[in-house]
């Protein structure tokens, strides 16, 4: 197995203006073949997780309701309401299941996500 450092493999892609994202709501970006769900929470923080709901297989997590569970930013799948942590991608209703998480940042008002 080849181990590469993150700095050499993360490719940042600009996806939208920060203001394109609504507070407490998600949107989806297509980066290569990855569908990435982007979220802007009430306090202005950004999160990025895989868009595919691992329970139904549908690409829908960006359309879920954003909120908090025990203080942790989370999103509920619109399909069957399983809740995922926006921080770790772990399903808070079934911790054996998780979705991928992606680095996300704002540069000059533009949102960028990192794909390894």
């Amino acid at each position: 197995m080849t181990v590469l450092s993150e700095a050499t493999t993360t490719v940042w892609t600009a996806v939208c203006a920060y203001t394109d994202l609504l507070p407490e709501r998600g949107a989806c970006a297509l980066v290569g073949r990855h569908q990435i769900a982007l979220f802007r929470t009430f306090d202005g923080e950004l999160f990025a997780i895989g868009n595919q709901d691992p329970f139904s297989g549908a690409q829908v997590l960006s359309r879920g309701i954003v909120g908090t569970r025990a203080g942790e930013p989370s999103v509920a799948s619109p399909m069957h309401k399983e809740v995922f942590s926006l921080v770790t991608g772990v399903c808070l209703d079934d911790p054996a299941v998780a979705v991928p998480i992606y680095p996300i940042r704002v540069a000059d008002g533009t949102v960028e996500v990192g794909v390894r």
Partner: protein
């Protein structure tokens, strides 16, 4: 194994249900004498006040062979067959006799005259109703439980009613002389005439040969055109006698603790069975017999033990209850002749152990004290009667709370804990407690409250309030945003439970378009995209077709839109057309086409009014008595867009044939010659429920005002995702009637104003969305590639239409 059951009444029905539920693998054949399947005899009288035979009928499990109008005439025990009156021969390996009982008709001269009836079956009730139509007065022979029930029925049919009782007072088996006197006061206050220490010497005919009156032993004649015998029942044991099975001296088929007769291949259950010298006529012990027999047939060891004969009922509006023993070393009586209340407790000689009790007029002690029979009293007897007892009376775990289904407090508590139950409906579903006579429902609620589950009314971790409380907070404080509400009355930042609830409350109170400003972030995906998400992440679109009426031109537009966007089409159960397979970026384009053709959103995505279905009504139908389509359209247009705790469905039928299935709806309307009958609280779905008659013969204007108030009261007070059916059960039909019809809370003007605001502020959500560029920008699959359709969505073909290809799962499992 071939199992044959003779008789199809409540006990037989319960037996078959238990066998099927426990996985009985053989063939079950039920031979019923009546022309209809088993029905709820406890609720028989309600048949005369509007419930249909179908309402009262128990469901028959899949796979069971039910032969109706098949009276069994003989049992061949050697050949193991039974023969019916029409010559059918049915072989059995195991036979169960559930033949019930027949009303006892004393040998009074004239008892065969036309106009004499018994009170046991739906056919009996039909005949009584027919006879009552041309009659002025009626007499019931027998002042017991069933006799008063029959008297209530005659009174309801408009007859001047007499009750003739042999004993010294009414209901001598349930109450003592003092209780009987109080009961008599109640009954006479209703206009009934009571004759005690009286019987029938003769029933006399008039010149037409029909019943004209009853002659009492003292020679007095009571004029009556209808006579109902209700002087007790006798077990139907004639088949068993014929077949040489052991029967009791005074009737009844002798059975052992496992409900087995003297022939090991034959069981007997219900009112025909004689166990340990006792025949039971109450539904509770009969159901227990059915459960025991089912268990034994499947190889179990269940045993029937002497049953509790406690009863609580409401007759002629009077609560009457008896529990435990009817005598004791000491007794304590509370009597309120003004309020018509009589309560008596029987206790042991040291006044510490409760032995039994009698209640007339107020059966509260039955609910609170019955579980303490045979145990130490929870307080001084007089205190228990005067004050209802100390506030925290804790029942022991083995105390029986539901005697109909033999469920203990411990079993209820275990079900609450194991299944995380939070309401009485859940307890009913898990334990069957409260599903038969319903008298233990208040106790179930108490157990739930005390069980520490706290029946948490908290909506979720963010709000400690129930939906109804939040509604009032928002309404009274004039709150218009989620942020303000959660800052002032909650914690954290909300979730998928509380956000849509608050969105719905804000929308019910008329706070603008559901996608305006911050409200957009509160909506579930369906409300957010004004369409219904489907399993592959695409959406379906349902334009409103009010009342199911649509022009050919509009039908063509729907067809063209579906064809042009490649959508799958299906007719819905609500008389409209659902278009499936739209991607988010297609939605505004589809709406544009539909809105331009005069359509609007059908709110299929919302917890809101869905449709008002209708039959074709008097315009076309030769049976119709009112314009069902016209009313359905006006109701649908009035309530469209009304956000509510759950979806709302409605229907209007133009005559009593009920083709629109209005009684399966949250609010249903059925035309009468005089106007409209309103039914509420119906439901299909997981827990079907027929709607209850709420008000009769309303004018259109009265009808609309009543529905306005009913809906707004529901919107204000229901829990999250609580359909009207569950809400109505939790509030009680009578209570909702008082609030809506009599304005008992003084809020009707407020409810009216709220509905008027809703009607005035309605706007089509699709049109508003497509006219607002800010809202339109959300309708893209990808924020960074608005023109790119989601490549993961694919379709294949089935029956000439599209069908989704589901994505393989990329599940990360650690």
């Amino acid at each position: 194994m071939k199992l044959v059951v003779v008789g199809h009444g409540p006990t037989s029905s319960r037996l078959v249900e238990a066998l099927v539920a426990k996985g009985f693998g053989g063939r079950i054949t039920v031979l019923g004498e009546e022309p209809r399947a088993a029905y709820d005899r406890v609720a028989l009288t309600s048949y005369l006040t509007g419930r249909s035979a179908e309402d009262l009928t128990y469901p028959v499990p899949e796979g069971v062979v039910l032969r109706l109008a098949s009276r069994v005439t003989g049992i061949d025990r050697d050949g193991r067959t039974v023969t019916t009156a029409d010559g059918h021969v049915e072989p059995y390996d195991v036979l169960v006799l559930a033949t019930g009982s027949s009303p006892f008709v004393p040998p009074v001269p004239g008892r065969e005259l036309e106009g004499c009836f018994v009170y046991r079956t739906i056919d009996d009730l039909d005949a009584i109703r027919e006879a009552a139509a041309g009659a002025g007065s009626g007499v019931v022979i027998g002042g017991g439980l069933l006799g008063l029930e029959a008297a209530d029925a005659l009174r309801g049919l408009g007859l001047s009613t007499h009750v003739v009782e042999m004993g010294g007072w009414l209901m001598p088996r349930q109450v003592d002389e003092g209780g009987g006197a109080v009961l008599r006061g109640h009954v006479e206050a209703l206009g009934l005439t009571v004759h005690t220490e009286a019987g029938a010497r003769e029933i006399v005919a008039g010149p037409d040969g029909r019943v004209a009156g009853l002659v009492k032993p003292d020679g007095e004649t009571i004029a009556a055109q209808v006579v109902v015998f209700s002087a007790g029942v006798r077990p139907r044991d004639e088949l068993a006698r014929q077949a040489g099975l052991e029967v009791g001296d005074r009737g009844g088929i002798a059975v052992d603790d496992g409900m087995r007769t003297s022939d090991p291949a034959i069981y007997a259950v219900g009112e025909c069975a004689l166990h340990d010298g006792m025949v039971y006529g109450l539904v509770g012990p009969c159901f227990t017999m059915a459960e025991v027999a089912a268990d034994r047939i499947l190889g179990g060891q269940a045993a029937f033990a002497r049953a509790d004969l406690s009863t609580k009922l409401k007759l002629l509006g009077v609560e009457v209850a008896q529990f435990g023993a009817m005598d004791g070393a000491l007794d304590v009586t509370f009597m309120d002749p003004v309020g018509g209340i009589y309560q008596k407790l029987f206790v042991s000689d040291d006044a510490r152990t409760l032995l039994g009790g009698i209640c007339v007029g107020d059966a509260t002690p039955y609910n609170t004290l019955k579980p303490f029979v045979g145990r130490d009293l929870p307080g001084a007897p007089s205190e228990l009667l005067f004050t209802g007892g100390p506030a925290s009376m804790d029942l022991p775990d083995d105390a029986q709370v539901c005697s109909c289904n033999n469920v203990t407090k411990g079993q209820v508590c275990a079900a609450v804990a194991d299944h995380g139950l939070t309401d009485v409906a859940g307890i009913k579903g898990c334990t069957r407690a409260g599903t038969t006579c319903g008298s233990c429902l208040p106790m179930l609620k108490q157990i739930l409250i005390k069980s520490g589950v706290e029946v948490s009314k908290a909506l979720c971790e963010h709000f400690a309030h129930s939906r109804a409380e939040l509604f009032d907070i928002v309404r009274v404080r004039g709150i218009t945003t989620f942020s303000q509400l959660i800052d002032e009355h909650g914690t954290g930042r909300g979730c998928d439970v509380c956000k849509p609830v608050v969105a719905s409350i804000l929308a019910s109170l008329g706070n603008g378009h559901i996608l305006d400003g911050e409200q957009a972030a509160l909506q579930d995906t369906n409300d957010h995209f004004l369409a219904n998400i489907q399993r592959n992440g695409t959406y379906s679109v349902v334009p409103r077709i009010p009342g199911g009426e649509i022009t050919p031109d509009k039908l063509i537009v729907i067809g063209e839109v579906a064809r042009d966007f490649g959508l799958y089409t299906k007719i819905t159960g609500g008389q409209r057309i659902d278009l499936f397979g739209a991607r988010v970026e297609q939605l505004p384009l589809i709406w544009k086409r539909l809105v331009d053709a005069g359509f609007e959103s059908g709110h299929a995505y919302g917890k809101a009014l869905r449709t008002v279905k209708s039959c074709v009504g008097s315009t076309w139908c030769r049976y119709g008595v009112q314009d069902a389509v016209g009313l359905a359209i006006s109701l649908e247009l009035r309530y469209r867009g009304l956000r509510s705790p759950h979806k709302l469905k409605s229907a209007v039928s133009g005559c009593a044939r009920e083709c629109a299935e209005a009684r399966g709806k949250d609010f249903g309307v059925i035309a009468t010659e005089q106007g409209w009958n309103l039914y509420v609280g119906g439901n299909g779905g997981f827990t079907p429920r027929h709607a209850d008659l709420f008000a009769s013969d309303l004018s259109t204007e009265e009808l609309i005002r009543t529905i306005d108030r009913f809906l707004m009261f529901y919107v204000r007070t229901a829990d999250r995702l609580q359909r009207t059916s569950a809400w109505l059960e939790s509030q009680g039909l009578e209570y909702v009637r008082q609030v809506v019809l009599e304005d008992s809370l003084g809020i009707c003007a407020d409810l009216d104003a709220q509905m008027d605001r809703h009607v005035a502020s309605y706007a089509d959500e699709w049109r508003t969305a497509i006219e607002d560029p800010g809202k339109l920008r959300r309708f893209v699959s990808f924020v960074n590639a608005p023109a790119t359709p989601d490549p993961s969505i694919a379709f294949t073909a089935e029956r000439d239409q599209i069908k989704p290809v589901l994505l393989p799962l990329e599940v990360v499992r650690s």
